[in-house]
Amino acid sequence: MNVIVTDTGFGDDPFAGKAPDLDIMSDIDPGTLAGQLAGLAMIRLTFTGFADGRGFSIARRLRQLGFTGQLRAKGILADQYTMARRAGFDEVEIDEAMAMRQPQDQWLARADWQAHDYQNRLKGTLDHAA
């Protein structure tokens, strides 16, 4: 079963069995989603590969478009957890093989994503999704 990573570590999928309201890939043009986001509870964004950094900008754009539900990233590394959280994701989904290879402590090491945040310091706002 896939594992859901949050700031407190590994957990089960709170939406277990239920499909996301919107399941998208990181090659989507987020502009095409305007007007479709109201009332959605959960969006899952799968990175085409961990190095496809468009996913981080798409997360920002989804928040910008007013999405306030749960935003889940799939397909990234523990080393990118901080970026994901700052960009507006709430959680990360990983498969069992990844959970074995990069166990919980490696993700928890990045759970202090609010620390050392230059952008926040320069913006003077605590709103990470802005």
Binding site: R61, L77, A84, A87, Q106, Y118, G124
Partner: protein
Amino acid sequence: MYNHTDFDTAFITARNTQFRAQVERRITGALTEDEFKPLRLMNGLYLQLHAYMLRVAIPYGTLNGAQMHALADISERWDKGYGHFTTRQNIQFNWPKLRDVPDILDALARVGLHAVQTSGNTIRNVTADHFAGAATDEVADPRPVAELIRQWSTDHPEFQFLGRKFKIAVTGSVNDRAVIRAHDIGLRIVERIDQEGYKEQGFEVIIGGGLGRTPILGKVINDFLPRAHLLPYLEATLSVFNLLGRRDNKYKARIKITVMEHGLEYIRSQINQQFDHIRPGFSGIDQALLTEIAQDFALPPLRQATQQPYHTAYDADPLFRSWADTNLTPHRHNDHAIVTISLKAHGATPGDATAAQMRRMGDLAQRYGHNELRISHEQNVILPHVHKSDLPALHAALQKADLATANIGLISDIIACPGMDYCALATARSIPVAQAIAIRFDELKLEHDIGPLKVKISGCINACGHHHLAHIGILGLERAGRETYQITLGGDAGANTAIGARTGPGFGADDILPAIERLITGYLALRQSPQETFLQTCNRLGMAPFKTMLYGAPNQEKAA
């Protein structure tokens, strides 16, 4: 100059701890090589031809004496006792061991240096005019803004995995010494008079420049961006690039291609739209931080003293006079000078400095130069604020360290990339070509007569040596298993930035030096006066006579 705040120090400490763990996790297999690669690159670590290479940032080219000493120590303890200063205001160490890199990064951090984002598909080390804060032609010192951009771009969550690298340069003057039109974004500080008649500072924003296999000069996307809009505008631009830029082909992934494919107008409208969205998220506190940063860059307290020792030495010592004529640039306080220390001794590797030389330069900066050094994109070292009366003593000290070569701006002041001697991507050697040219024209005792001339050499199409922007550019390629050197003429990295034009077929390794010699001899015969520079002659006469010098008269053209 900028002193790291507690915030910066805490960030770098945390970052280095993360990298140390990443190296360990690579060794245990928690990270695959594919996964580790972008992580090491964003910490400056390349895998090269013979070994790892660590690229350390010298933000906007500014260093102090202690930092120079630390670089010397690192080169001795973990490398082979020298470092290579690059065209992007970095220093590269060519022989570190992977296991040692975390310790090297900690040693750098102790003096406020780092290797963050000196490589990888991120926003790279921000570069700036190497004469910043001392030049006579400056609207404002570009370094505070460069530092602000460094902070904003550091570990930016959206932009650590861009489609390609992204380079930003800032200048504060019209006489562009930061090559802003060859960068993904170039910024020029400009002034205008606002409606109430007050002077207002802002930026001319240039976008989509770059060299490599598709050399393109950047275009103005915004002719006056108010100062306070800078960060949201950059963030909007990068966000548009991140989403729109191509990821299917590495050679088409730079923003210059995005701009070419979508058109400047479309890109501009996308940026403006995104700017409007994100601008309210910036409270304006960055401007207060910028004011604080700027205080760190205030001009040091300059000394008042007689200039007599300078004049005495200038009249009496021909070596000093020759050095003063080429290596000094006027300072905004005319009893001071900007000193360029040449890292281009005839026959040396352009941009290399030994540990002893680094220490000597650090000491001399402390003694004569208000503890400030700069690294130029031309791979030289600069002491920006030296009182003229100190110049004879400084020159004598430089002579002792083989650092007094009087050739700044001349034919032997060559920019050369590492080429086949170090670089895994190289298709030809570049360092030996630079050495041969420098030695030859030194033997001929012609270089002062030839006057201002920029020769730049790249060892492959990636153009790290800026050959497109040289008066005489040399590009090393491989043709049928042999090194072949193509020549371009008429490039210009200055205020009238221009990309050079190819002369024709390339020359073999044995023929490139004679070809350059023919160009120079031909130029000397054609120039209208000794004051007419090579570039001026080139612009006046066009390519034809130079082609004849290289290949013979048109009717008997032979493919070399």
